[in-house]
């Protein structure tokens, strides 16, 4: 009897020692894990700071050399002796105009598709349609570039653009926007069209998501008083989701502004500001992609400064997009 109780006492002590050891190691691994997750989360912040700081350091020589002039100079002559003349106006113009045209095309299409998918589409084909549009977002940018360069560009330049040019030849203003002097495979408009295809899945996906946050009761009430499908969309769905739609559009704009490879292939990389959208142009990202590897000194610094401008621009656009989407989420949660 005594031996048993004594040994069980020993066992207990051994156990509690083990227990203490195990608990200690548990506490340690618990702390380590918690620390690791926290460190990784802060790493995201460090990453952003790192990007901004490294861009500023790289862009500093160009900022010192050109100052504010950089933003308003049209000329881009990196080889000029003794001092290169570098101005950002042409790439900034190309970036803004190509993204603007892309939005002009993609937003109505994206919203139209989203309306079709949420209001009209039979359930059985909804998924395949969504899939074939959302997979567009998965295709790498360089593939769009190749396709635009070899397939879409020649098609537009041979069949579509000459007839547009001919149609508006006698209409003032329009005939300079759609000027036919330089219709070629490489143009601002071709790049915009490719951009529009690339951002279509983003607009569609977000629009479908926000459209499905509309409470069915609201739509049913509108149908109940005799509204047509379009009236329901126009008077109930769109007003209810306006903030979210604008947020999604801004998100897509952020993508379009920074899109690189596809645009580099088809915009023509010409640092000239032309009134015609059928003329070659360039964008910030295309300029960096095509010139950075062979650049040095002030030229390279100027390209980094362009990158910094692009980052600031997309940051503002994306940040306002997120704010709008967050507002919608808050309302949906409330």
């Amino acid at each position: 009897m005594t031996t048993i109780s004594e040994s069980s006492k020993k066992l207990d002590m051994a156990l509690s020692k083990d227990r203490a050891r195990v608990l200690k190691s548990l506490v340690l691994s618990d702390k380590l894990f918690s620390f690791a997750t926290r460190a990784a989360a802060y790493a995201v912040l460090v990453l952003l700071a790192g990007i901004i700081i490294s861009l500023i350091i790289g862009a500093w020589p160009a900022m010192k050399a050109f100052g504010f002039e950089f933003l308003v100079t049209r000329r881009w002559a990196p080889q000029l002796e003794p001092e290169p003349v570098l101005g950002a106006l042409a790439p900034i113009y190309g970036t803004l105009v190509s993204s603007f045209i892309a939005m002009l095309i993609a937003v109505p299409f994206g919203l139209g598709i989203a309306i079709f998918l949420t209001e009209l589409c039979p359930h059985s084909i909804r998924r395949p349609i969504r899939l074939s549009i959302e997979l567009l977002a998965g295709i790498p940018s360089i593939i769009y570039g190749m396709w635009g360069f070899f397939v879409l560009g020649p098609f537009l330049a041979n069949y579509i653009e000459p007839s547009i040019v001919a149609a508006v030849a006698n209409i003032p203003v329009l005939n300079s926007i759609f000027s036919g002097e330089m219709v070629s495979n490489l143009s601002l408009f071709n790049a915009s069209l490719i951009l529009a295809i690339m951002i279509l899945p983003f607009i569609t996906a977000i629009a479908v998501d926000v459209f499905s946050t509309v409470p069915p009761v609201l739509k049913e009430a509108a149908y109940g008083i005799g509204c047509t499908t379009w009236e329901v969309v126009n008077n109930v769905v769109l007003p209810f989701t306006r903030v979210g739609v604008v947020g999604g559009v801004m998100l897509a704009l952020g993508r379009a502004l920074g899109e690189t490879m596809a645009v580099t292939f088809i915009i023509g990389n010409s640092f000239k500001i032309s009134g015609s959208i059928f003329a070659p142009s360039t964008t910030i990202s295309a300029a960096i992609a095509s010139e950075f590897a062979e650049s040095e000194g002030l030229h390279q610094s100027a390209l980094i400064l362009l990158g910094l401008l692009l980052f600031v621009l997309t940051f503002i656009v994306l940040a306002s997009a997120r704010f709008m989407l967050m507002r919608l989420e808050k309302r949906a949660g409330a």
Binding site: L45, S54, I115, I142, G258
Partner: protein
């Protein structure tokens, strides 16, 4: 007010436009895939997977070094990025759920998620290539990792937030420490979602070209040296496609077909993973 018939007609008209938009929206994927197949399949021989990229003006050759380089850099990039992303996502969804810094990190992460990839290239050029004084596969992998992190953070957080709190409470009630609750219970419940996130990240970086252009450059030869330029599929395509050499152009189309096939099948696989989770 217009008559009911007129309103009906107007509505039908607009809905017809929506239908047309959908029709036009759907064709692009097939047009692009069609071009890739038509131009890529003729060059799709066994040699593509067994031989190195040829010098200009020669016949034959393949993409072995480029395919290998792409795979290696993607694996390293995801190998660095995914763990960091999962840990950071875990912090946002678990430890820091009510912390004040969490919305800030989430916001910054969302911005990084959509930041232009060429900017990531510039960042890695300044932060890695310049100090190392050489273009290198390491720099390319780091650039890819920077792109992977926000993707994985986002999906990890979303998936962990879907795990019901009752599971965590039950595990805590058994006396499990917090980290065990997360690793043994929450991770397991969210496993399909976490895998989806990593697959999507692989698909995202698999075809990335812009951040590689001036971090790894490319290489005409077989190289496994991580601190030297390394051949990779996207940059090889970029260099070959704009060359008059017919053989190079053919290889570029075939490479493009391979990349697209790989990326799209990853995307579809990831969707199936995600969908099977929803179905349960």
């Amino acid at each position: 007010m217009a008559s009911y018939a007129a309103r009906r007609r107007y509505s039908t008209f607009i809905m017809g436009l929506c239908l047309t938009a959908t029709g036009i929206g759907v064709v692009w994927l097939f047009l692009i895939l069609f071009s890739l197949l038509v131009n890529g399949i003729p060059g799709l021989t066994f040699a593509v997977f067994t031989e190195m990229t040829p010098p200009p003006g020669e016949h034959g050759g393949g993409l072995l070094n480029a395919i290998f380089g792409s795979l290696l850099m993607t694996i390293i990039g995801v190998g660095i990025g995914a763990p960091i992303g999962i840990l950071a996502g875990t912090y946002l969804a678990e430890y820091g759920r009510h912390s004040k810094i969490t919305p800030v990190i989430r916001f910054i992460n969302d911005i990084l998620l959509s930041a232009p990839s060429i900017i990531i290239g510039l960042f890695v050029y300044g932060a890695v290539v310049v100090p190392m004084r050489s273009f290198s596969a390491v720099a390319g992998s780091i650039a890819l990792a920077v792109i992977v992190i926000p993707v994985v953070v986002r999906t990890t957080e979303d998936m962990l937030l879907l795990v019901p709190n009752t599971l965590r409470e039950a595990a805590s009630a058994l006396g499990l420490p917090r980290s065990f609750v997360i690793r043994r219970v929450a991770y397991r419940a969210a496993r399909a979602g976490l895998i989806t996130g990593v697959l999507l990240a692989v698909a995202r970086v698999g075809g990335e070209t812009a951040p590689l252009l001036f971090t790894v450059l490319s290489n005409q030869f077989w190289s496994v040296n991580l601190v030297k330029p390394m051949a990779n599929l996207p940059v090889t395509i970029n260099n070959f496609i704009n060359n008059p050499d017919a053989n190079w152009k053919q290889l570029a189309w075939t490479g493009a077909l391979l990349i697209t096939a790989a990326v799209l099948s990853l995307n579809i696989t990831a969707r199936f993973f995600g969908a099977s989770k929803d179905g349960r």
